[in-house]
Symmetry: C2
Subunit: 219 residues, 2 copies
DNA sequence: AAATTAATTTAGGCATACCTAAATTATATA
DNA sequence: TATATAATTTAGGTATGCCTAAATTAATTT
């Protein structure tokens, strides 16, 4: 069995790899709140375990074995988030922190029982896809809200889940995955978005909008 | 915050202290599947944190602060066992192992939500008392089944929860906490017990009987 | 009281996972 | 192309928690 730290590295490499391709030591270290030297050290260990590919100074990527473990941990995390949310009523801005600790510790049996309880769900409370038990992830074609123009309407697909205060803020506007809204105005010079949610007019700053991803964009 | 290992030591010292008073290094080490030298090392650390009292060669006991933490962990463990059993249907011979890992990781918030879901329970699936959130434990006056004589009837109060195979064995006879039975015969020379459970006649070996504690003994 | 036996502690090591500081390598700029 | 800058790796150190082996202390036996 892998250590918690090793699992976190694999999970982080997976997520960064999805965006960047090859993952640099520096990016990985920053993402994990760790110094680059520490990341180098773990990368070496993971390489001897054949969980990552790595050439000095050239960045890391996961092997198939490493990817399988990363997806396993991500599955635990997202199932746990949804379970805590639905079964225990933990607020959506609290589930991430909790799942971050539990993901390394639950058994496959408990994973399967939560999955069944939840009816084999495909997305967590923040809209992120839950890999199935074979590691298959459904990829949604969502775009960042910052790409929207005035007049367009859409549905919230996913929001980033790491910042608890941001999630409370979004919650106060009902900006959950599945919520539809229409862009009324985009202020010039990288300004805020004014949107219409179920008849309510709301102003969303650019920094916040960057963390919202949307679907079903229509004129 | 304490390390998982430190929490396990405190929990173990508490449990052993209930039986033995002062806890010797050797007993503690054996209980934790660790060498005596390792126990000595942790005892020293816990002493500097003022969580235990210890004089060389004289055994350990918990301070009030140490006891509070021990009870907190035991509360987590037993609430988790009952939650896994009732909410997720994990079999009673599986919950201990699972709770052993989760107890160090859940938040006070999740603890409180499980407590509420379960209706503020006072015993885990094996009959062990769950300390309340202030650390108050209800002590039951149960006796080991091995103290029973033929003709006596009683109710199962508690069974030990560490041996999964034993629990499956007990389950096959319906020997759960709350189950009533009557002793039909105690074989001589430390022999087995023949008992009557709801009309069914069952033979329980002495080694098994040692792990069953009973209540409400009547002639 | 002395010697044996048992329990406990000390000493020295290993693995994990982090750190800082220095050395190395790659990339950008002049 | 030479030099400056940035990224990465290496080297050496800390803390935790375990280990084995040796030394110490306590308890028992003769
Ligand atoms: Mn799993
Ligand atoms: Mn999430
Ligand atoms: Mn607690
Ligand atoms: Mn139990």
């Amino acid at each position: 069995m892998l250590t918690h730290a090793a699992e976190d590295y694999l999970k982080s490499i997976y997520k960064l790899q999805e965006k960047v391709g090859k993952v640099s030591t520096g990016i990985l270290a920053e993402y994990l709140n760790v110094k680059p030297a520490s990341a180098t050290g773990m990368i070496k260990k993971l390489k001897t375990m054949q969980l990552v590919k790595h050439e000095r100074y050239q960045g890391v990527t996961l092997t198939d074995a490493g990817k399988a473990i990363a997806l396993e941990i991500i599955r635990h995390h997202r199932l746990l988030e949804l379970y805590l949310f639905k079964a225990l009523g933990v607020p959506w801005d609290g589930v991430h922190e909790e799942a971050e600790k539990l993901e390394h510790v639950i058994s496959e049996d408990v994973e399967a029982r939560m999955d069944e309880f939840l009816g084999y769900p495909t997305a967590d409370p923040h809209g992120a896809p839950i890999p199935d038990k074979n590691g298959v992830v459904i990829k949604r074609m969502s775009i960042p809200m910052t790409d929207l123009c005035s007049g367009q309407s859409c549905v919230v697909a996913e929001v980033s889940d790491t910042d608890s205060a941001l999630l409370r803020h979004l919650g106060s506007f009902n900006l959950y995955p599945g919520t539809a809204f229409r862009v009324i105005e985009v202020a010039p010079f990288e300004g805020p978005f004014t949107i219409d949610i179920a008849g309510q007019q709301v102003v969303i700053g650019r920094e916040v909008a960057k963390h919202i991803f949307v679907d079903d964009v229509k004129e």
